[in-house]
Symmetry: C2
Subunit: 454 residues, 2 copies
């Protein structure tokens, strides 16, 4: 068994509960604040945005939340996902380290995002909501939500950052295949969008603007809600199916991780893999180093400040205490689209502050180099986001080669790169440059963040 | 177990032998002929093109051929592939039929093609060959061969039909990630290519021309051989891992196919799924209807003639007795790129002549409609090629709805459509047209085929 490439689980081994790490942390997390009053946000404040069940999950102190049968039924289209032992990569690196990766690219949308899209749509459907709105950048989240809406018969309206809408039509087509309606953002649909287009008809858009458009459409209609693909507690909790399965799979082959690395954008892929292992670490069963990996071009944990900030550019969302580069921060157009968020999930920021995780940042050329080496040895072409995790895993494996240590490394390959080949083309042509982010850029963006003590 | 979505196998359940259906057929197959002498081609005739081991496999009468350990090691990166029960599609169709599909899109290249690319490269490597050449259209085969070459350290040079090279850069990038060198065909590399470019600098190319370029480069160099992704006996034999696994998986849940449908281009995906079931049918264990599905725009089995023809346009390959539309036949640019070959594998043609399989043709709009319905219910966006098989499976399922029969349908989903989204976009926009192929077009192409009795 130890020699296999894939450690598989049966469908009846899909976790039946999500894990809420808040129940096990040594300190409470600072609450979100109402954007107007700066008082702790209440369930009512979230009412126009999310269904009751998700607001409850966002605030719950329960350690475990049951996964509904209807959600498990959809999960079964692709879950459990395989855990791979990277034999061929290890051999190429000539390392005594053992590298395992949990592969989420087998989902219909090709990433971990459907793990939360499906329950989010389910709870909205159950409460009679007819339509969901959301934003998307490169399209991973938008396509996942469109897929999930198709499963429960909801309409899905997506605001896609205009620059991506124009340059990457294929993700849009994927959303449309699943019945999603896609607007370039800024759009003529919302007042905010129109105001921006009046000033600049070719406005490239941004995630922050797209969020504002999607949110404003959701609050304006009683039967419409909004869905977010990362950052929030309930989103990270839904993603813990990744880590729970990985834990079971590692146990099956008697493997215990010495180092766990995950890429962090909003934080949902990282939290999904890491939190179940953190639970075991907190209870003294295992003792892995747990490491976040972020792009040098958007280093929220390693260079951002831990303070209250908005989730969007326009300041419509509640204030959240998180590592942030400032909600006005616009990352350079690096290709790891999913890692370009100005903030980090409050929950990931919190465990970082508690010293439960480390963080490093890596430049994109090292990441793509790792991605190409991974594709040549393991076959799968990774999405640009998880190449950060792969690069970090390779660093550890090469250290082991030096030291002779036989460390066990675990990481998450959160998606394939079939719709990101243009960025690989750029890398292979030698047209890719590393971003050397100046501290003054961060300082300037942070200067517009309201000064709130929490 | 009967309610699961995915029937999985362990790695040690990957077949250890390929199945050669020639050993079990009631009549021998007409031999390939030398293109010059029209005498049966000898092993020596194939020498400049293929390594000895593959020529032996092409001509063997043995029922089973052992799969080398080194090939199994690479297969384990993605094999065994899952067999799915399409619960959600069945429900949407409101049919009493049970639909199973064997999914080959989990391979690194995203289709069944690596099943033969890997052993082909292995045998070449073993005989000291340093480089392989091949042709590719949309790029499925080229990317599979590039992936396989990366596993055994061979160079890979690919001639891609120029029209695809220009309009679909992403498959090319995939080939380059795995180290492949890609030329648009016609190219300036070969004499034949240059002669065509002299007449038309913007020549769009064709599969036939690309084959001629790849073949001429292979025969000109002692350390270089050529690889073909379909049509030949050894290619179809390598693909029987699909059917052997599916047979085992069906057995595990006690399912017996009443109808087996597969899409046919060159014939390798169809043969791979069908031949192991045909063995069971020939020995009286089961009695499924076995049905080929081809595009109405390239109906080799349903409208072509069974006669000797060349495998390429320039007439460099041996003559093979097969269903053909004539080697000069250029199919309309329908989007199911892999189904655009003018001929059908001699082996598939032979079993068709023996009455062991049926054949139907389906228009592309019905196929894309089936593809979208499949994506909405089962999640996976299928490649255009297998939408033909899905459309045929849906036809049977809807007949069952009428008749009340609880038939068990088995098909192969031979690849995902992540790199074919442009054709879905065209379909969704309503810009897709069905081709009504005129018999006179076929007659004209057939008029240039040499008249050889065999």
């Amino acid at each position: 068994m130890s020699d296999v490439n894939k450690i598989l689980l049966e469908e009846n081994e899909i976790p039946t509960q999500w894990y809420n790490i808040l129940a096990d942390l040594p300190a409470a997390m600072p609450p979100p604040l109402h954007p107007g009053t700066h008082e702790p946000a209440t369930a009512e404040d979230f009412g126009p945005l999310f269904p009751k069940a998700l607001i409850e999950q966002e605030m719950t102190a329960e350690r475990y939340v049951d996964i509904p049968e209807e959600v498990l039924d959809v999960y079964k289209l692709w879950r459990p996902t395989p855990l791979f032992r990277a034999h061929r990569l290890e051999k190429e690196l000539d390392t005594p380290a053992k590298i395992y990766y949990k592969y989420e690219g087998v989902s219909p949308a090709g990433s971990h995002k459907p793990n939360t899209a499906v329950p989010q749509v389910f709870y909205n459907a159950k409460e009679g909501i007819a339509k969901l709105t959301t934003e998307t950048g490169a399209g991973q989240w938008g396509s996942s939500l469109a897929f999930a809406c198709a499963q429960f018969g909801l309409e899905c309206e997506i605001w896609q950052v205009a620059a991506s809408y124009r340059s990457k039509p294929y993700r849009r087509t994927m959303m449309e295949i699943w019945g999603g309606k896609v607007h370039p953002s800024p759009s003529t649909v919302t007042e905010y969008g129109r105001s921006l287009l009046e000033k600049d008809a070719d406005h490239p858009g941004s995630l922050g603007i797209a969020i504002s458009e999607a949110v404003s459409e959701a609050v304006a209609d009683e039967d419409t809600r909004y869905a977010l693909g990362s950052v929030l507690n309930h989103v990270l909790m839904h993603q813990t199916v990744i880590g729970e399965e990985a834990l079971l799979q590692m146990n099956k082959v008697g493997a215990v991780p010495d180092v766990l690395v995950g890429c962090t954008g909003g934080g949902s892929n990282f939290g999904g893999l890491a939190f179940p292992f953190m639970r075991e670490k907190l209870s003294g069963n295992i003792n892995p180093v747990i490491r976040c990996v972020e792009p040098k071009a958007c280093p929220t944990l390693t260079k951002g400040e831990y303070r209250y900030d908005f989730g969007d550019t326009a300041g419509l969302t509640p204030l959240m205490k998180m590592h942030t580069l400032g909600h006005d921060f616009v990352p350079e157009p690096i290709h790891a689209g999913g890692l370009r968020y100005h903030g980090m999930a409050p929950l990931v920021s919190h465990v970082y502050e508690l010293g439960l995780v480390e963080a490093i940042s890596i430049s994109q050329k090292e990441c793509f180099e790792a991605g190409v080496l991974f594709a040549k040895t393991e076959g799968i072409v990774p999405a640009p986001e998880p190449t950060h995790a792969i690069a970090a895993a390779i660093r550890v494996a090469l250290e082991c080669k030096e030291s002779g240590e036989e460390k066990t490394i675990l990481t998450a390959l959160c998606g394939h790169g079939h719709l990101d080949l243009a960025s690989y083309e750029k890398y292979l042509k030698g047209d890719m440059v590393d971003i050397d982010l100046d501290q003054s850029v961060i300082d300037e963006a942070l200067s517009t963040v309201p000064d709130i003590q929490g």
